[in-house]
Each structure stands twice: as C-alpha cells, then as structure tokens.
Symmetry: C2
Subunit: 125 residues, 2 copies
DNA sequence: ACTTGACCTGGAGTCCACTCCAGGTGGGAT
DNA sequence: ATCCCACCTGGAGTGGACTCCAGGTCAAGT
C-alpha cells in the first residue's frame, strides 16, 4: 500500500505527467487523492488501473470507449455484464486486427522476397 | 490494361476520392494520368500501387515513411537495397506489434475471465 | 439551351490524443 | 531568508491524417 508522486507514477505507468493530468480531466482517472498542498497522490490501485488503461489503449481502444468503461466501473456491481460485453467486443476486434496484420505482413514479405530476388539477379556472376 | 475514374478507383482501393487527391498532393501517387478535361485517369498499375499503400498504411506505417518509399521507387533501380531495408525494418515492427498485441490480448482475456467468474458467483443458486 | 453530375483546385476545418505554456504555490535544502 | 523544484491550473498549440467547402469546368442527357 504505497503512494506515488506524479513523477513516479509517470515513470511506472509509462504515461507522461501531462497525459495523467489529461486523463484525470477527461474522467479516465476517477478518485485520485490529493495531499494538503493539492498535489496528486497515486495509490497502487491507481497504478493497476493505469496498467489496464495502457493495455486497452495499446490494443487500439479509443479514449471515448475507455471513458465509457471507466464510468461503468465507477457505477458499481450492476454494470459487470456491460463491462464484460465491452471487453469481449474489444477482444474480438483485437483478434481481427491481429489476423489482418498477419495477412498484410505476408504481403509485405512477398514484396521483400521480390526485392531480394531482384538484388540476387543483379549480382555480377 | 484498363483505366478507371476517380470514383471507380476509390471504390476498388478503399480510399476516398479526397484521400486519393490528398495522396497525390503529398507525393504518394506519382504520375497519375489526366484526360483532356484535366480529370485523373487511374491505371491497373496505379491500382496495384494503391493496394501496396493500403497494406503499408494498415500495418501502421506513417505517411512520411510511405512517401520516402514512394520516392525510392521513383528514383529507379539503384534504390532497391534501400527499399528492401525499409520494408524489412517495417516487417520487424509489424512482428513486434503482433507479439505485443497478443500479450495485451491475454491481459484483456484475464480481465474477461475475472468478470465472467464474478457473474457466475453472483448467480442465484 | 439548360440542367445535372462527376470532376477540378486551393485552402480551411475536423478529430484525436496529446503536449506545451504562463503564471502561481508550497515545502525542503542552503 | 531565499532559492529551487516539483507540482498546480486553465487554456492554447501541435501533428497526423484526413475531410469538407466554395467556386468553377466540362460532357452528356432531355
């Protein structure tokens, strides 16, 4: 049960301090504590939430949908089904994304093969 | 050896007409022919190039790098090695991307598992 | 002769996700 | 006492990739 300054949190979470402030402002980080001087104090729970946000964001979820998820979490236990639906939809999109990336990677590799051949042919014999 | 209007090209390539114009403007589509009235006339070759661009784009290559690739292609045969390097770098990035997506998908699925369990536990017995 | 519709141009506007800035505060080190 | 530094706020600015708009042209249909 530790607490962290904005700088530490930025370092641990991989988000910049500006991004942390921005996320709080748009409602992605509810309930961040403040000390007597008005400065943010992040908890281990906040760190965990940030890890989740990072995961969603890097898998391509837009901030608007992350905000929706955040609101559902805040709304309490009766939103569990909705959260589940949201995450399952997201999981499906990630799956499609990966499949599509693989196909396109194959295309790129065909092109690479083509250029490799071109280079070989042009070698002096 | 057919030729296509902007509308047909948009339909076949999946880029909007505005995007086609934009790509031509920033140098991604060199040598697009025009008819007597000044309208664009796309060839099968252009279509093929657009397919390549789409592939690079959807695998996350920024327009600036696509432009660099485009310039290399225009510069002729002595840039084949550079093109190869560029595509191989890109391929590596795509590979990393896919691996990372898989890891993060696992995280999402753990969360889904957690919520599924939560729902099961809360079922009336 | 006239309208329609697909196209043209240059340039402005939009959206997303930050990122930066000016001006201000409070606490600890020298 | 003073200085520094990490932090605060509201709001403006940025970068990437489009997307839209006003005003104009041409060819074909009625």
């Amino acid at each position: 049960m530790s607490s962290y300054t904005p700088a530490e949190t930025a370092e641990k979470s991989g988000f910049s301090i500006d991004t942390l402030r921005y996320y709080e402002k748009i409602g992605l980080l509810p309930g961040i504590a403040r000390n007597a001087a008005g400065r943010r104090v992040f908890s281990d729970g906040d760190l965990g939430w940030l890890t989740m946000l990072r995961c969603l964001r890097e898998t391509g979820m837009p901030l608007a949908e992350m905000r929706r998820y955040s609101l559902l979490v805040q709304a309490g236990a009766e939103t569990v089904q909705e959260r589940l639906d949201l995450l399952q939809d997201h999981d499906r999109r990630v799956e499609e994304r990966i499949a599509r990336l693989r196909e396109q990677q194959d295309q790129v590799r065909m092109k690479i093969g083509f250029y490799t051949d071109a280079l070989c042919e042009s070698l002096p014999v």
